[in-house]
Symmetry: C2
Subunit: 368 residues, 2 copies
C-alpha cells in the first residue's frame, strides 16, 4: 500500500471518531425494552467495535495527525465529578420511576459488610444513601469480623435467591482469613454489579463481546472522559495501578475505546518516564501524592481514582482523603484534572446505581 493511500485512510479513520462517540449518554436510557438507543449507548461505554486495519507509513513521510495543540494559557478544566454524578443520578431516578410504573417494582441492591473498618463503613453509607436518592431499594447485611466464610457465602446465597435483589455487592476488603475469590464467586453472574466475575472480566477484555457489568470505577473514569468529550482513539493512556477493582478494568475499557494503553504498577522501573509520555493519566495506585507535576506531560488529562486517607488533626475525623496525584503541582501542567474528593468517587457510586438499574431491567424483562 502506498504512503499516500495510507495517509488518506488514516485521516478518514480520524474523521470517523467524533461521530462515533462524541456524546455519551451512558447506559441509562428510560424504557422497559432493549431499544436501539440503549444498544447504541451500551456500545458507547464499551467503545465502538472497529477492526484493526494496519496501514504502516514509511517513516520518511511527514507525521500524520499531530495531537491538537493545547492552549497553555487557558486554565485547566477541573472535572466536576459531583455534578456529573448528580446528572447521572437524575437520569437513573427517571428510569427507576419508569420501571415502577411499568412493572410495579423497583431495583434492589444488597450490600454485605463484614467487620468494622471505618473506611468500609463510610463507603457503604454513601452507597446506601445514593440508592435512597434515586429510589433504589437497599438491603444491608452486616456481619462481624469473627464470622465464618461460610456465613458470608450463606448471606450471598440468600440474596442470590431473593427476587427483589438485583445487585449484590460485597464490600472489600474482606477480613484476611476469608477467601475473597470464593465469596465473590458465589455471587450470581446476573447480580454481579461490581463486575468482578472472571466471565465479566473476560468479556470486557475480548473486543466485540458484552460483559453483563463493568466495574464501577472503570466505568466512572470513562464517563468522566466521555462526558468531557475527551477523544480517546489512538491517544496514549497510562493507567497507574492494576487492581481488579480499578486499574485492570480501566485499562481494558480504554482499549475498547482504541486508546494505546500502558499499565504501570509497583514493579515498573521509572514510572514517571512512561507517565510523562501520556495524553491521559488514570491513577489508581492507592499512594497519596505519588504522581507529581514532573510526571505529567503539559496538556495531559488526569483522572485521579486514589482516595488515600492522610492524617489531618484539623479535620473533623482526624484524617482527610487525598488522591494519588499531587493536585497543586498537577493542576499547573494538566489541561483537565479531577479533584479528590469530588472527582471519580461520586461517579463511581452513580455507576453502581447504573449497574443495579441495568440488572433490574434485565430481570424485569425476562420475568414478563
Amino acid at each position: 500500500m502506498g504512503g499516500a493511500m495510507a495517509f488518506t485512510w488514516r485521516l478518514t479513520k480520524r474523521r470517523m471518531a467524533p461521530a462515533l462517540f462524541s456524546r455519551c449518554h451512558a447506559t441509562l436510557i428510560v424504557g422497559g425494552s432493549k431499544t436501539e438507543k440503549e444498544a447504541a449507548t451500551t456500545t458507547s461505554i464499551l467503545g465502538p467495535d472497529l477492526p484493526d486495519i494496519w496501514s504502516p507509513l514509511p517513516t520518511s513521510l511527514p507525521r500524520p495527525m499531530p495531537m491538537p495543540p493545547v492552549n497553555h494559557a487557558a486554565p485547566p478544566t477541573i472535572i466536576d465529578g459531583k455534578s456529573i454524578a448528580e446528572e447521572i443520578r437524575s437520569e437513573i431516578s427517571a428510569d427507576v420511576l419508569h420501571l415502577k410504573s411499568s412493572y410495579g417494582k423497583v431495583p434492589g441492591l444488597a450490600v454485605i459488610l463484614v467487620g468494622q473498618r471505618r473506611d468500609s463503613q463510610s463507603y457503604v453509607r454513601y452507597k446506601i444513601k445514593a440508592c435512597n436518592q434515586v429510589g433504589i431499594r437497599s438491603l444491608l447485611a452486616q456481619l462481624p469480623d469473627s464470622c465464618s466464610e461460610d456465613e458470608v457465602v450463606d448471606s450471598v446465597t440468600r440474596f442470590n435467591q431473593d427476587p427483589s435483589v438485583h445487585g449484590i455487592l460485597v464490600q472489600l476488603p474482606l477480613p484476611q482469613h476469608m477467601d475473597e475469590e470464593r465469596i465473590l464467586g458465589a455471587i450470581s453472574l446476573q447480580k454481579d454489579v461490581d463486575g468482578f466475575h472472571p466471565l465479566n472480566v473476560g468479556n470486557l477484555a475480548l473486543r466485540g463481546r458484552q460483559p453483563l457489568f463493568i466495574p464501577c470505577a472503570a466505568k466512572a473514569c470513562l464517563q468522566l472522559l466521555l462526558r468531557h468529550q475527551i477523544d480517546l482513539m489512538g491517544k496514549h493512556a497510562v493507567v497507574i495501578g492494576r487492581s481488579k477493582v480499578v486499574g485492570l478494568p480501566t485499562s481494558l475499557l480504554l482499549q475498547r475505546h482504541h486508546a494505546t494503553v500502558s499499565i504501570v504498577h509497583a514493579f515498573t522501573h521509572r514510572p514517571e518516564e512512561i507517565t510523562r509520555e501520556a495524553d491521559i493519566v488514570i491513577s489508581a495506585a492507592g499512594v497519596a501524592n505519588l504522581v507529581r507535576g514532573s510526571w505529567l506531560k503539559r496538556g495531559s488529562v488526569v483522572i485521579d481514582v486514589g482516595t488515600n486517607p492522610i492524617e489531618d488533626p484539623d479535620s473533623e475525623h482526624g484524617y482527610r482523603l487525598t488522591g494519588d496525584v499531587h493536585f497543586d503541582e498537577a493542576v499547573k501542567v494538566a489541561s483537565a484534572i479531577t479533584p479528590v474528593p469530588g472527582g471519580v468517587g461520586p461517579v463511581t457510586i452513580a455507576m453502581l446505581l447504573s449497574n443495579t438499574l441495568d440488572a433490574a431491567k434485565e430481570a424485569f424483562r425476562s420475568s414478563v
Copy 2:
C-alpha cells in the same frame, strides 16, 4: 516511607526475581498426579503472584536499578524456536508415555477445519503431524465452506461428548457467514485448548487466578523469553497487535510476570515512538515488515509472531512466510530476536500439544 528504605526494598524485590523464575520447565512435568513441581511450573508460566507494594522515590534521588548494560559488540542471539519446540515435544512425549502406562490411555485432540483455505489447511497439517510425533491421538473433522453454522456446532458437540477427545480446536478464521463466538462458545470449557473462552481470558487477566488454558501463541512467546532467561519483571514490553489469539493474551500474560506492558494497535498514533521505548517487543500485527530497525531500542528483545505470506515466485508454493519485523534491519539493533519461520511458530504448536496434555491429565485424574 523514606527514600533510603524504599531503595532497599526495591533492591530486595529485584533480587527475588531470578530465584522466582530463572528456569521455566513449562507445564510439562511427567507424572500422573498434580505434584508440587507441577504446581510450581504452572505458576512459572503465569508468573509469580506478588503483591503491588508501592514505594515511591522522591524524584531527586538517584535512579534505582539501571537496566543491565547491553554488550553492543556481541552478536544478537537468534532465538531458535525449532530447537525449543523439539525440547518441549520430547518432554511431552515422555509425559504421554507415562500417561499411557498409568492409565492405558493417550491424550486426544480434535481439529475442526471448515472450508478450503490453503493457509488453514497447512496449519492443521502441522498440528496433526505434531500430535503424531508425541503420541497424541488426533481427529480431523473437515467441513465444506457451504456447511451451516449448526453443522459446525454439532461437530463441536460430538467432540465434547467423546471421552477420548481432551482438546478441541476450531481452526480460525471461519467462513464469514458463521458466528465465531457461538461456535467457539460451544466448546466445553475443559476442552478449550485454544484458551479463547471468556472465562479463561478473565482468569488470565485476574492476578491470583488460574485459567484452565492459556492461548498457545501467548504461551509460546513466554516460553521463548523464559527459556532464554530474559527477565521480565518491571521491563517495558510493547505488544503490537491485540487479537484474542495473540496480542491480548500475551499482554495479559506479560503482566502476570510483572512487566510494564503497552499495547500498540492499528489506531495507535506514531507506534514507532512507543515501540522504541521497549525493552521487549512482541509483534503480532499481521503486517509484513511493519517493525523496522528504526522502531527498536538498541539491545531490545524482539519476538515476532507474524506469519505473513508474501509472493515469492522462487518459492515452491509461489509465496513465502515473513514476519512482522524487518529481520535484516532488526537483527542489527536487537540483543535477541526470533526468526520467521522457525521462531514462535513451532513453539506455538508445541503449546497446543502441552494444553492438550494438560486437558488429558485433568480428565484422567478426575475419572479415577
